[in-house]
């Protein structure tokens, strides 16, 4: 009888964004039954934009520098999580815009938007999750949505194959996480991160059961963060998925995975940091090597960018490995820039894909700079930022992350990152060289269609990337608040 009397306090405000998103997803599904084709697509897109905008606003209002717990400690509502939420929702919003300009998803507009909103809700829950149970539930919620989204082009074999690969590998990752959580529970008797740390505050910090659990958790999160050597699904899934879905995945999944990684490691396992630092360092170097070597060989732009996200996991995890307030700031700053760069770059790839009607290779950009100068300059900005050139945010982000690494005595990670960046230049700069290739036959003037929404998304994100590179203080202030809410 006593078990039934446990009262879990319900806090609607803590999960307001999830409620908004899931309720809207339900509405879209129901209304989708009565509407068809173009009108359903239009309506679901409009409703999704409103819902995502509202969810962003709600998270923004609750952007507080002190942490508050909800649902009996299973959620931790703090500025760090809210910042992650806002990034996820904004990426989702931009993905809606990218998809709206494209024809291919129009027939499945209802499913696309409902799944996208559910995925956002799952990621959002993950960003504020404070227990292994909610972590797993949130992870599965967004993962299942993404499996379907990747395979949403059911008449496209590549898309189906990508979805299947992602499903299998992703499930393995989730299993690792679940098993890791179970081992940690066995070692500590707790599921909530802060209580795990409290339970483990005394005694041997390096128990075998516990360390195995931490390792499994790292592996499980590594799969979601497409960190090497758990990245093998990334190029296929990114290539096969419809480009708007890739746009969303590349930005939002990474934000959610990195936010929870830092949160779980610093709040649940502070005393084990000496061990997981080494594990992370191994993963980081694997990311640099696998990501860069993979990207060097790619002709397909989406695959190249997919491998580039693997290499970038290395940079982002460097900030996690620093596990300091400075590292948290660096992570939030760079995640913002990172999301903007990837959304913008994939939005441009989507445009080019529609112009030529097949997967885009680097060579397909040859001479494009002369027919679409503005978009090409935006693409150059993204590539320069990915490669870490000033005055873009990508440069300051790297400086920030390396400062955090150095401050934590991990100069070797910064040096590894510098070498990885230099190698990365070779493939990033291929794109600008192709865009402004003087010898290339200028692609026939492309009058129709114009993709104004995609163009707007890529130009806006380019402005974000350059703007926060030149005037970084507003973003750094937000990042400081977010980081302080986690590190106190």
């Amino acid at each position: 009888m006593s078990a039934l009397q446990i009262q879990i306090p319900i806090s609607f405000s803590a999960i307001a964004p999830e409620i908004i998103l899931l309720a809207t997803a339900c509405v879209i599904l129901v209304v989708g039954v009565f509407l068809a084709g173009e009108r359903a697509h239009l309506l679901s897109a409009a409703v999704s934009v409103i819902a995502l905008g509202a969810a962003t606003a709600v998270s923004g209002i609750q952007f507080e520098d002190t942490a508050r717990f909800a649902f009996d400690g299973t959620l931790r509502i703090d500025a760090f999580g809210q910042g992650g939420r806002m990034l996820i929702f904004t990426s989702g919003l931009l993905a809606v815009c990218v998809a709206f300009g494209m024809r291919d998803l129009r027939e499945r507009g209802v499913e696309y938007h409902a799944l996208l909103l559910s995925a956002c809700a799952g990621m959002s829950l993950l960003a504020v999750s404070n227990s292994f149970v909610t972590t797993f539930v949130a992870l599965e919620l967004f993962s299942i949505c993404l499996y379907v989204l990747v395979a949403i082009e059911t008449d496209d074999l590549l898309s189906l194959e990508a979805g299947l690969k992602y499903l299998i590998v992703g499930s393995v990752g989730a299993a690792f996480l679940l098993y890791g959580g179970a081992l940690v529970y066995a070692a500590s008797g707790q599921l909530e991160f802060d209580r795990i740390a409290a339970a483990l505050a005394h005694g041997n910090p390096h128990g075998v059961l516990l360390l195995a659990g931490v390792a499994f958790v790292l592996v499980g999160l590594g799969f979601k963060a497409n960190a090497a050597p758990f990245h093998m699904w990334t190029p296929d899934a990114y290539e096969g998925a419809p480009t708007p879905v890739t746009t969303f995945m590349s930005a939002a999944t990474k934000v959610a995975a990195l936010v929870i990684s830092l949160r779980v490691l610093v709040t649940a396992f502070p005393r084990q940091s000496d061990v997981w630092e080494i594990g992370l360092a191994g993963i980081i170097f694997a990311c640099f090597i696998a990501g860069n070597l993979g990207a060097l060989r790619q002709a397909n732009v989406k695959r190249m960018l997919a491998y580039s996200t693997v290499a970038h996991s290395g940079f982002l995890l460097t900030a996690v490995a620093a596990h300091s307030a400075l590292g948290g700031r660096a992570l939030v700053y760079y995640l913002t820039i990172y999301a903007a760069m990837n959304v913008g770059a994939f939005a441009i790839v989507a445009i080019r894909e529609h112009e030529i009607g097949r997967p885009v290779e680097v060579a397909d950009f040859a001479g494009w700079g002369y027919s679409r100068p503005l978009l090409s300059i935006a693409m150059v900005v993204f590539m320069l930022s990915l490669a870490g050139f000033p005055p873009t945010g990508g440069f300051l982000g790297k400086l920030y992350i390396w400062s955090a690494a150095v401050a934590n005595g991990q100069t070797y990670l910064a040096v590894g990152g510098a070498i990885a960046t230099a190698v990365g230049l070779v493939y990033y700069l291929r794109v600008p060289f192709a865009l402004f290739d003087r010898d290339a036959a200028v692609p026939a003037a492309i009058s129709t269609p114009n993709f104004p929404l995609n163009a707007a998304v890529s130009l806006a994100t380019a402005l974000v990337v350059v703007g926060f590179g030149i005037i970084p203080s507003p973003l750094i202030d937000l990042a400081r608040t977010a980081s302080a809410s986690l590190f106190g």
């Binding site: 700031r329 400086l399 230099a422």
Partner: protein
């Protein structure tokens, strides 16, 4: 004042790049901006107090709270060396724009906008007093160079650019890690504060030195140089050799050595040895080049290594000579590459085998070429002679044998420069020289004569520069 010098070309770049003006107006506008920059530089020179240290200071917050109580500051100022590097930049860019107009570059809006961005970045890096700000200028400088080389270059531009990119960035990214390290450990990115309170793990010095020595370039880090100088358009090659390479030497003098004085001193023999090897190697290879650009490219390598010898001689004479030589060599190699550019525009080649006889009935041509050649070989009485003499004295003071070996480089310079001049100017007209090719035109003289006048001015009054630099 400093900010005006930094942002005037940048504003010009925006206008030139975005305003849909016809070719003539774009060119005119770009030229006017560069001339205005020269005038602004001249005003700065006149107002400069020779013994006054850092002047035209502007210091405000850029990133107020970077973390760990560190801020990144927009701190720019000019000391004597900065001032003359800025002037060299202004003159070099103006001359390059002049040549580009003469050549009629394709897509002039993009071209001139990039050249102006380059100018802006160069001025920023020559005046920045905050390490992050310096790095920003240093890297932004590279972007227009890549594009100018990769888009407007010659047939082998793609490979040349890629090589240049990878070489220069490996160096500068390590420097960025070192900057992050300094910022975190010292709690400041300010140059003065870091000099006052040196932190010197050995690797930091090498991380900085690598970036600068690749750019200069120090032997044996010069593999990018021959193709970059050959495949770029002549005005870009002129800027690379005349101005951008000086950014490397400037970095050594202003950052690498003062930030890590003990490490630099401990390791000076490594750099001196490499520089000496580079001086002799570059001079010998220059003597064997089949083309006019090749000679100047390798002579530029040799001269930059001579400058490095002056810097690492670690005495007043060596450093004074090195800094003055930076100015001299900048002007001379600008002139040499731009003159080659004019020859290439007329004949379509710079191979000695197809050229010759430029002096036949073309007095202006031969005079201008001869002056450039004589200055490049440091004829006694010229400003280059003064600066090389100082470097040699510095080298002798450090180690007599070093001075003696370096002096050999001066002899070799006479050999390759006289061969250069002779192959271009003497004998009968080469096969690619059009029959009855006219002498230099007014537009071309307008580019060459100011550079020659600057060389003469430096010669007539070398202490006008040296007093301000040291």
């Amino acid at each position: 004042m400093t900010s005006a010098l930094i942002f005037l070309p940048f504003a010009g770049a925006l206008v030139v790049g975005l305003a849909p003006l016809p070719r003539r107006l774009t060119e005119l506008l770009a030229l006017l901006v560069t001339l205005a920059e020269c005038a602004l530089g001249a005003v700065a020179l006149i107002g400069f107090d020779a013994g006054g240290g850092a002047q035209y200071v502007e210091n405000r917050e850029w990133i107020s709270d970077f973390g760990l109580n560190t801020s990144v500051r927009y701190h720019v100022s000019m000391n004597g060396l900065s001032l003359f590097m800025v002037l060299l930049t202004a003159v070099g860019i103006a001359a390059a724009v002049g040549v580009a107009i003469r050549m009629g570059r394709e897509r002039p809006r993009a071209y001139f906008a990039l050249v102006l961005v380059l100018e802006s970045a160069l001025v920023l890096l020559f005046t920045a007093q905050d390490l992050v700000l310096f790095y920003v200028g240093w890297e932004i400088m590279m972007i227009p160079l890549y594009v100018l080389m990769g888009v407007w270059g010659g047939a082998g531009r793609r490979a040349a650019t890629m090589q240049f990119v990878v070489y220069t960035l490996v160096g500068s990214l390590l420097m960025l890690v070192a900057i992050a390290y300094l910022g975190v450990t010292a709690g400041t990115f300010e140059r003065q504060a870091l000099i006052a309170n040196p932190h010197e793990p050995t690797w930091l010095f090498f991380a900085f030195a690598a970036a600068f020595c690749i750019k200069a370039p120090l032997f044996p880090l010069h593999a990018w140089l021959p193709s970059a100088y050959r495949e770029s358009s002549p005005e870009v090659a002129a800027l690379l050799s005349g101005v951008v390479s000086k950014a490397g030497a400037y970095g050594l003098i202003t950052f690498a050595v003062p930030l890590f004085p003990r490490t630099a001193h401990d390791w000076r023999w490594l750099l001196l040895g490499l520089a000496l090897a580079g001086l002799l190697y570059g001079s010998l290879v220059a003597f064997r080049q089949p083309d006019a650009r090749g000679v100047i490219a390798y002579s530029s390598l040799a001269q930059m290594n001579l400058i490095v010898i002056g810097i690492f001689a670690f005495n007043v004479n060596g450093v004074a000579g090195a800094t003055f030589q930076m100015v001299n060599h900048g002007v001379v190699s600008l002139a040499a590459f731009l003159l080659i550019g004019i020859v290439e525009a007329r004949t379509g080649t710079n191979l000695f085998a197809s050229l010759g006889g430029l002096a036949n009935g073309r007095p202006m041509f031969s005079t201008v070429f001869l002056i450039a050649a004589l200055w490049a070989l440091a004829v006694p009485g010229s400003s280059v002679f003064v600066s090389e003499l100082y470097i040699l004295i510095g080298a002798f003071q450090q180690e007599a044998l070093l001075g003696a070996a370096a002096a050999l480089g001066i002899v070799l310079a006479a050999m390759y420069m006289l061969r250069w001049y002779s192959a271009l100017a003497h004998e009968d007209d080469g096969e690619r020289v059009p029959a009855g090719m006219p002498d230099l035109r007014l537009g071309e003289l307008a580019i060459a004569v100011p550079l020659i006048l600057i060389m003469l001015a430096l010669t007539a009054y070398p202490f006008g520069v040296m007093d301000r630099i040291t």
